[in-house]
Subunit: 295 residues, 4 copies
Amino acid sequence: MGYPMASNLFKKLGPSKFWVLDHSEPVALKFKQEHGNVHVATKASKIAEECSVIVTMLPASAHVRQVYLGENGLLSKLQPNALVIDSSTIDPSTSKEVSSILEKQGATMLDAPVSGGTLGAQAGTLTFMVGAKTPESFEQSKLILEHMGKNIVYCGLPGTGQVAKICNNMILGISMVAASEAMNLGVRMGMDPKLLASVINTSSGRCWSTELYNPCPGVLPNVPSSRDYTGGFGVSLMAKDMGLAVNAANETKSTTILASVTHQIYNQVMTTPGYEKKDFSSVFKWLNNNAEKYQ
Amino acid sequence: MGYPMASNLFKKLGPSKFWVLDHSEPVALKFKQEHGNVHVATKASKIAEECSVIVTMLPASAHVRQVYLGENGLLSKLQPNALVIDSSTIDPSTSKEVSSILEKQGATMLDAPVSGGTLGAQAGTLTFMVGAKTPESFEQSKLILEHMGKNIVYCGLPGTGQVAKICNNMILGISMVAASEAMNLGVRMGMDPKLLASVINTSSGRCWSTELYNPCPGVLPNVPSSRDYTGGFGVSLMAKDMGLAVNAANETKSTTILASVTHQIYNQVMTTPGYEKKDFSSVFKWLNNNAEKYQ
Amino acid sequence: MGYPMASNLFKKLGPSKFWVLDHSEPVALKFKQEHGNVHVATKASKIAEECSVIVTMLPASAHVRQVYLGENGLLSKLQPNALVIDSSTIDPSTSKEVSSILEKQGATMLDAPVSGGTLGAQAGTLTFMVGAKTPESFEQSKLILEHMGKNIVYCGLPGTGQVAKICNNMILGISMVAASEAMNLGVRMGMDPKLLASVINTSSGRCWSTELYNPCPGVLPNVPSSRDYTGGFGVSLMAKDMGLAVNAANETKSTTILASVTHQIYNQVMTTPGYEKKDFSSVFKWLNNNAEKYQ
Amino acid sequence: MGYPMASNLFKKLGPSKFWVLDHSEPVALKFKQEHGNVHVATKASKIAEECSVIVTMLPASAHVRQVYLGENGLLSKLQPNALVIDSSTIDPSTSKEVSSILEKQGATMLDAPVSGGTLGAQAGTLTFMVGAKTPESFEQSKLILEHMGKNIVYCGLPGTGQVAKICNNMILGISMVAASEAMNLGVRMGMDPKLLASVINTSSGRCWSTELYNPCPGVLPNVPSSRDYTGGFGVSLMAKDMGLAVNAANETKSTTILASVTHQIYNQVMTTPGYEKKDFSSVFKWLNNNAEKYQ
């Protein structure tokens, strides 16, 4: 995700000073080679030293802690008044905590997780859900984020960007399993899958998963289910997001029965041989084991 | 449901011969009083004797068996070539079985369960999902159903109307719990519920339950959640529909993990003191127990 | 199950008149060949005509309805005062209904489902859980059942034998999944499985599944988990019993969240390639997918 | 728990130097008053300075981090060669991490969570599940733990004491819900609860929850269910332990479908008005809502 986002940012910001850092140095060097006029850092602290606006995109909470607060991390050399935007999807409490530590140093940190996937990152059409201490800092960040996305949504105080993201994704994760169970059941009971999808999509079962990302092969062209669940959003990434939702729920004593079960379903699917690299809609295929015997 | 449907039918069919039967005779008499020129039957067999087109709307599979196949039931006096439309939501296997028995008598029976609720029934804007042995019999039934609904959808062979209905409703039931868990979590974590709903509705968590029937009070006007969950679609009706889905799944060896858990959630909600007569979106309130302590 | 039960019964009852009937006639003929002095029936009604004491063992509710109430069924020729014992595991409401129909003919019907498996059937050590209208009829049945089992337990009115059986088996089915999840987790976190089992078995996690039928290979000798889950009680039979529990729960508005999820887990396991003929404790293996990657 | 454990320890160790520290100083002072010849500390570091053998009992991982690694924590003044035993139930990864930090300082830290409840703590009959780097350090700790418990079980390397505890408790938590669902179902279907319990306890559904802690009122005397679920092990404590199991499962990619659902059930029960201070077996009562209407 980080690469195409940085690429769009670079293209829009023109010839200004631009530093990049990737966990894998060859990736950073490739970026420099492709875009020219880019500096490559090998430590986060170097980025902090050189830049007053910083955008990060990291896989999980532990990496955010490391890059921000760890040895040679951003915090160690952070410029006062720096504007730092973290687009990682991590747990809201880590987001709030890191933001509050940076703020004590005079910097401003916003959480701005994205939706839209790698395709959205390439096209510059991502949605950013932004948590910011003040509307002013949100407006500041918007000027940056607009170069990488289309919808920049203000969600409230630091951490609420993460909250919005995980609440959205937990519904997505659940409704994909729901759509898979329903399509599988309907087909086994003799309905044509396209017809079933069209009935649902004009009725109260309609959701993003049935309309735009139907998990049953052949219903929609150009979605993962129609190319054996390749591409798309990996089942292990969805398992990670469901885990964030469940953790956040536990911290606030919110009951999440379906999110918890769904989390475990994705855990089971992703460890089933053959499913590790599949799109999350492959839960349909997983449910549809041996279908030919029962139809 | 049956009353307003019959009312619309009567208004459109004009002065033709019209018979009604209700489990509660006063209801049938009230219909006659209100509409005039209507005959009231006290046995289903009388209806079968008098009418060549029959529409039924019954609570559950057992009632359909009773009214169609039981003592003094429709079957006992059915006219050859009668057209019989059952709009009850029941399990697909009962639907198929009764249809096949009637067919042996020369009649045509279609399953045509509805979505749209009592408001849709009154307004004549119901959706009918129709299972019919032939496209011709579907077209025949459409001429009748159009007087009571707006969308008349052909779903395939007898029983597939039921299949479409329960597949749709199982997604609805699951996504309502998903929406409730997510809205509850987001609010407890400090997000404004309207803002959270608007983020979800422009992203991949979007579904009928978040957009048109949001379970969190105050997000939408004129939905049950904004009037303490009165009106709408009762939690016990949703529990019944989830049960139909789970039964159908068992018959076809289709795994329905989320539908089963959701079925039990509605079972538990509907037996919780204070929830028996609430709309099914009251699962939000049920999850939100003691929220003030944890927010 | 029926064969060894009948065999024990024949051995104890000595040279008295003895009729057998099996869905597969060669099985019945083999029984005659092996035991001699046995009559083979080809219709249930013949059994009813000839015998005043009848024991049945059938796979599911539908078969019980067929054999008792169907064409050429027991009911058609039942002797007044016949004593009929049904050892099938079926849903309690069917049991009650058939019993009450037979009673109107003057016969006495008891439900007496068993636990103990094929090994218990061969050894004559089965447990029978008996529902009977009167203590007297229970005592009568006991004289017969003692030839096939060791514990003959009176559970109450007709149907309660089934109730006891499904309540027991739903705990068994759930605790086997619980034991599998816990053993899998413990082993992945570095504990020796035998040591973990011994800690659990001397503490509050102790249950039949951890003590006598541990699902983790190598913990106990002579259980299915130590011979790649062959033999034992098939996963599809457990799925059937969980389904009976869930159905009974629905009829009485009893919430069964864990039983419902567990039912679906067994449904999923039994349709996973390679698991169809495995013992129900193979849920451990199913959970343990790709374990080598994560340990 | 800590108070009676310390009391037993003090009684057995006789007049040796004895320091205590409690989060609530009055509790520590009461201990001194009751036992005499006891020193009261106000900081963990003071304990570390004065004692070469230390036992801690804390509510959760965060408290362990604070008391061991925080400001004025044990680590700051730890004696080389100190023997430190933590009897808290916390997540295994925190246990391992803290143990490894202390070890770098030359100390030995063991995890030794307990089972047996406050009654066991008072009677000195607790079970300790011990994780220790070497068998020698386990033997050393055993000399201390024997003063407070009856069974001191060696589980393996640091962290495995926690692993054994949470694996045991997750089976306990699940089987209690299973027992509650089954007893509730059986009773609603007309079985006498004592009779049902006795059938289960001689069959394959037998578990600690049905035999020794039956959740259905009236089956056993002297258990929480027979005194409106007072005393015993609080539902929120069980929710905490289920949460530890689920977290550990996520870290090791172990699927825990039933543990996750059960975790959420206890979450929901403990936030239901009237249940916050109840024993965890009150899940029976929660399921049994409105039972009188459905029986």
